[in-house]
Each structure stands twice: as structure tokens, then as C-alpha cells.
């Protein structure tokens, strides 16, 4: 009886502890969002989106160049990363035999696990060193490397999820394999692939480490893609470690804007996916 009572107490206590663990871990996201909103929302105004940063000590200014810069870097990264991930994923799911796709899948996972700072070093050695200066190209290239594995694996995974009967049906109607892929398989998997691509973009949008010595930073507009370029994440970093109160205020604002964008992208990708699967079921 005593033993049973003790076992029941242990049961209740430990199960409650796991519940507490869950509450703590889930609440962290709300804490982060809450802190950013409290500290940042007052500074997210018209100037923030339209003005250039001012010299330290002057109050005001905005981060227009960093917002546009982030957009440009993401465009460059997407222009490289999405085609490679998409077409490479098609190869892995539809064309490859056994050994070659396994090797490529393994290296993609390897690339996905490379620390972002090491990606930065690599982009520095292959783009910055030959060009002799920091540039938007180098930053976009570094970000694309982080995007490729996500897009590749998502494309492969969702193409593999397409039922074989669809492939067979299309081939039986006389369509070539390529025609089947373009008109039947990819459309059937498009929600999943889109989700993967959005997640890839969301991941690189917040990356700072690969940009530190590739895109660097810039207080002004970049005149060309061969120049250093500002981005929201690196702006947050340099503002946060600076000693100026007004810069800290802007760091909070930029953090809030960046976080909201990243969260929206993630939630949107989830929504696209759920809409796709429910449509298929219906």
C-alpha cells in the first residue's frame, strides 16, 4: 500500500514536471515576441522604413537601406538557391538510381549542418578574395548555400510523396517522363515544394553570420551589387553592440520587424501545406 502510494506520487509529480517543461519551452516564444513588441513598437514608424541611418549621436533616421538590402540579398540567394534546390530535388526523386542520389542527399545534409560562420568563410574565399572587395554578390552567394539543402530535401520529399499511380497513369497515356514530371508530378506536389522554398527564404532572411565578411554592412545605399550592402540582421547586430541609446532603440525596432516577417513566412508556409493536404483529401 505504502509502495503503491509512493509510485502514484512519483507518477503525478513526474508527469506534472513534464507539463511544466512544456509550459516553459512554449512560453519562451511569447516572451521573445513580447519583449520585442514592448521595446520596439514605438520605433517602428514611417521614418524607420523610409530614412537612411544617421551618424551616431544624432536622433532619428531609419533603416530603409537595410530593408532594401535584405530584399536584394534574398533575391540573389533565391535566384541561385531555388533553381538548384528544385531541379536537384527532381533529379533525386525522379531520375536518380540508388547510389548517386544517396551520395548527394548525404552531402546536402552535410551542407545543411555546416555552421553559418564557416559558410561565410567559404564565400569569402571564393567570391570576396578574387573580387578584392566585399559585395552583395558574396553575401547572396553565402545565403544561397544555406537555402539549397532545404529546398532540395523538401522538393525530393514531396515529389516522393506523390502516388506512383499518377506517374503510371500519365506514362500509360503516352506522355514522356519529362512531360509527366512537368504536368503531373510537380503540380501534385507544388504545395509542399512551395513550403520548402518559403522555409528556405525565411531561414536565410535572418542569417547574420554568413554576411559579416561577405556583404559586410553599409550606412548608405549600395550603388551596385559589387559594393558592401546593408541588411536587417547585420544592422541589428551592429546597432545592438554599439554604445548609443538611439541605436539600441532602432535595433529593437529592426528586431521586431525581422521577427514578424520571419514568423509570418513560417506560418504562411504551414498554411500553404495544410491547405494543400486538405484539398487533396477533399
Amino acid at each position: 500500500m505504502n509502495r503503491t502510494a509512493r509510485r502514484n506520487i512519483v507518477n503525478t509529480v513526474m508527469l506534472s514536471v513534464t507539463g511544466i517543461c512544456t509550459v516553459i519551452t512554449v512560453s519562451v516564444l511569447f516572451l521573445i515576441l513580447g519583449y520585442l513588441v514592448v521595446n520596439g513598437w514605438r520605433s517602428v514608424d514611417w521614418n524607420f522604413f523610409t530614412k537612411l541611418p544617421l551618424a551616431p549621436g544624432e536622433t532619428g533616421g531609419g533603416m530603409a537601406n537595410a530593408i532594401v538590402g535584405s530584399g536584394i540579398l534574398i533575391l540573389i540567394a533565391s535566384a541561385i538557391g531555388i533553381p538548384v534546390g528544385f531541379l536537384g530535388g527532381i533529379y533525386l526523386a525522379e531520375f536518380g538510381g540508388k547510389a548517386v542520389p544517396m551520395l548527394i542527399r548525404y552531402t546536402a545534409d552535410l551542407l545543411n549542418g555546416v555552421p553559418s560562420i564557416v559558410i561565410g568563410i567559404f564565400a569569402w574565399t571564393v567570391v570576396v578574395v578574387p573580387m578584392h572587395h566585399f559585395s552583395a554578390w558574396a553575401g547572396g552567394f553565402a545565403l544561397s548555400l544555406m537555402m539549397i539543402p532545404i529546398g532540395l530535401r523538401a522538393t525530393e520529399q514531396f515529389l516522393r510523396g506523390v502516388p506512383n499511380t499518377l506517374r503510371e497513369g500519365s506514362l500509360a497515356l503516352g506522355a514522356s517522363k519529362t512531360r509527366t514530371i512537368i504536368s503531373v508530378i510537380v503540380p501534385a506536389a507544388k504545395q509542399g515544394i512551395l513550403t520548402g522554398m518559403i522555409l528556405g527564404v525565411a531561414r536565410v532572411a535572418g542569417e547574420t553570420a554568413p554576411l559579416l565578411f561577405t556583404a559586410l554592412n553599409n550606412q548608405y545605399w549600395a550603388n551596385s551589387l559589387n559594393e558592401p550592402i546593408a541588411s536587417l540582421p547585420s544592422m541589428i547586430y551592429y546597432r545592438a553592440i554599439s554604445p548609443y541609446d538611439d541605436w539600441h532603440r532602432q535595433a529593437w525596432a529592426a528586431g521586431l520587424v525581422l521577427l514578424v516577417l520571419v514568423l509570418i513566412a513560417n506560418i504562411a508556409s504551414r498554411w500553404v501545406l495544410s491547405r494543400g493536404t486538405s484539398a487533396q483529401r477533399g
Partner: protein, 324 residues
């Protein structure tokens, strides 16, 4: 007659060629293969570049690079041990916090919570994994560091100050703060993957334990968790690999000190943070080469852990789904 014989092969060859173009199968195969192969090539190229650019440093210091404790660019003496120490120490602090927390939450989400609540919570936790590193750093600088300096570190010194781990002045920045931030950044991975591993455990295992009179906790802790242990260990390895390579958040709170300290409260450096802070200011080939070699060391560390994690996770999820 002769002309017909001569033109027939010509025509079939031409038709074959147009067929290939029209169907496009071989071409599509080739094009997609080239893109897929580029992923392989760029990864190999990455390793090659790290190896070549770290050449001067490797030639000069050899194995002493890893065991050397002094980093002095002026004297061109480079030893990476303080950074390796800081990287491993902060990651271990992170795991000590995030593993119990993460596994606990994973148990709750897989065993106790109703599916809808479980999915909602997992989604929120996975969103946390998407929060950019620099935002963790921003919050850490302005909220966590003051809290650590004013409350947590004085408290630790007061209660556990007899240990060498909790001595010295409370700066707020240092190994402990960096470890805490890393804990928050890694538990989403532990929760998400451990939950998958726990959910893959066949229901019969739970039912058998409960039928034998085990309490819910006993069935979970003694049957379900051991069954999923490889996947859980895999998630821990993955979290460790993330923690080792994490740059921005750590750079902002590590305190930037290039020597080795026993106290968790003292400022230090990690490999990634040191590269981030010094790469653009490095002058001289040997200095840059030494920084690239630091990157190579970090790369090797995370690759070994990632590989092990992949194998473990594959082993459990495969095993779980194959069970009848």
C-alpha cells in the same frame, strides 16, 4: 536504290535526335543531374577551400594549433585551445539545461497531451527554432545580461561560491550566459525530434507495460523512453552540433576574453564568436590562415556530430515504423 540506302540511317538518326529533343527525357535527366551534382561539388569545394586556405597555418603550427593556449597575432603565435574550450563548455552548459527540459516537454507532448494541443505546442516550439540568432543575441544583451549580473550570478556565488565554477566577479557576460542562450536555441530541436521518436514507439509497448500494472510514468520512463533512446540521443547530438556552430547570439554575450577560465561566470570566447569578431580585422596571411583553420576545426567538430546524429535518428525512426 543506292541513295535510299544511304539516306535511311541518316533519317533515323535525325528522328532519334528530334525525339530526344521532343521528349526531352535525356536532356531533363542531364540538366537535373547537373544541378544535383552541383550540391555535391560545392560541398567538396567548401572543404577543399578551407583546407587550402588554412595551409600556411597548418604547416607552421601542426598539431600544436589545437593544444596551444596562447593567441598572439603580434608574435604570430596561434593556439586555439581557449576557443575550443569555450565552444565545448558553452555547448555543454546548454545541453545540461536543454536536454532535461526538452526531453520532459517531448514526453508531455507525445504521451500526455491530446493530439491537437500537442501539435499546436510543437508548432510554437518549431517557430522558436526559426527565430533568427541575432534576435536571441539582441534580447540577451539587453535583458538576460542585466538579470544575470544583478541577480543570478551574485546568487550563484553566494550559494555555490565554494566551487571553482562559480567564482570571480559577476560581469553578466560569459560562459554561463552564452550557455543559457544556447539552451533556449537548442531545445526546439530536442523537443521536435524526440517527440517524433517517442511517437514512433508502437502502442503495444505502452499497453503491455500498463497491463502489467505500471503507472503511466513507469510505462513512459522504463519502456517508451528506452525504446526511443536512439532517436533522443540523436536529437541531442543534433542540438550539440547546432550549439557548437552557433555564432551571433554567442558573440554578443560571450565577453570576448582569449584565455581559459575555470569559472563559468567569467568572459571567454568560442570558435565561431572569435572568427566573427576578428576575420575582417585580421592582417597578414598567417593570421587569416589561422582563422580559416579555426573554421576548419569547427567544421570537423560539427560534421562528426551531425553524421552521428543522422545515423541515430535514422536507426530509431526506421526501427519504430518497421515494428508490427
Amino acid at each position: 536504290m543506292g541513295t535510299v540506302v544511304a539516306t535511311a540511317p541518316e533519317q533515323t538518326r535525325a528522328r532519334k535526335f528530334t525525339n530526344i529533343w521532343r521528349d526531352g527525357d535525356q536532356i531533363a535527366h542531364l540538366v537535373t543531374f547537373l544541378f544535383a551534382a552541383s550540391v555535391f561539388l560545392v560541398t567538396v569545394f567548401l572543404v577543399y577551400e578551407l583546407w587550402i586556405h588554412s595551409g600556411p597555418s597548418r604547416a607552421k603550427f601542426g598539431f600544436g594549433f589545437i593544444t596551444g593556449r596562447i593567441w598572439d597575432p603580434v608574435a604570430e603565435q596561434f593556439g586555439a585551445l581557449p576557443f575550443i574550450y569555450g565552444t565545448v563548455l558553452t555547448s555543454l552548459i546548454a545541453l545540461v539545461i536543454s536536454v532535461p527540459l526538452g526531453v520532459g516537454a517531448a514526453i508531455f507532448l507525445s504521451e500526455l497531451a491530446p493530439p491537437q494541443l500537442s501539435n499546436a505546442c510543437t508548432f510554437l516550439v518549431e517557430l522558436l527554432a526559426a527565430v533568427p540568432s541575432v534576435i536571441f543575441g539582441l534580447l540577451a544583451i539587453f535583458t538576460l545580461v542585466p538579470i544575470m549580473r544583478q541577480y543570478v550570478e551574485p546568487f550563484l556565488k553566494h550559494t555555490l561560491g565554494f566551487l571553482p565554477l562559480f567564482q570571480g566577479p559577476a560581469y553578466g557576460v560569459g560562459y554561463l550566459t552564452a550557455g543559457l542562450i544556447l539552451a533556449v536555441m537548442t531545445f526546439p530541436f530536442i523537443i521536435s525530434i524526440s517527440r517524433e521518436a517517442l511517437l514512433a514507439v508502437p502502442r503495444e509497448q505502452r499497453e503491455a507495460a500498463l497491463a502489467l500494472g505500471a503507472t503511466k510514468w513507469e510505462s513512459t520512463w522504463q519502456v517508451v523512453v528506452p525504446f526511443a533512446r536512439l532517436g533522443i540521443i540523436g536529437s541531442v547530438f543534433l542540438a550539440l552540433a547546432r550549439a557548437l556552430g552557433e555564432t551571433m547570439a554567442v558573440t554578443m554575450v560571450i565577453g570576448n576574453d582569449t584565455s581559459i577560465h575555470t569559472s563559468l561566470l567569467s568572459p571567454g570566447y568560442t570558435i565561431a564568436a572569435f572568427i566573427a569578431n576578428n576575420f575582417t580585422e585580421a592582417t597578414g596571411d598567417i593570421y587569416l590562415s589561422a582563422l580559416v583553420e579555426l573554421g576548419l576545426v569547427l567544421f570537423a567538430l560539427t560534421m562528426v556530430l551531425n553524421g552521428a546524429a543522422q545515423l541515430l535518428i535514422m536507426a530509431t525512426t526506421g526501427k519504430g515504423s518497421k515494428q508490427p
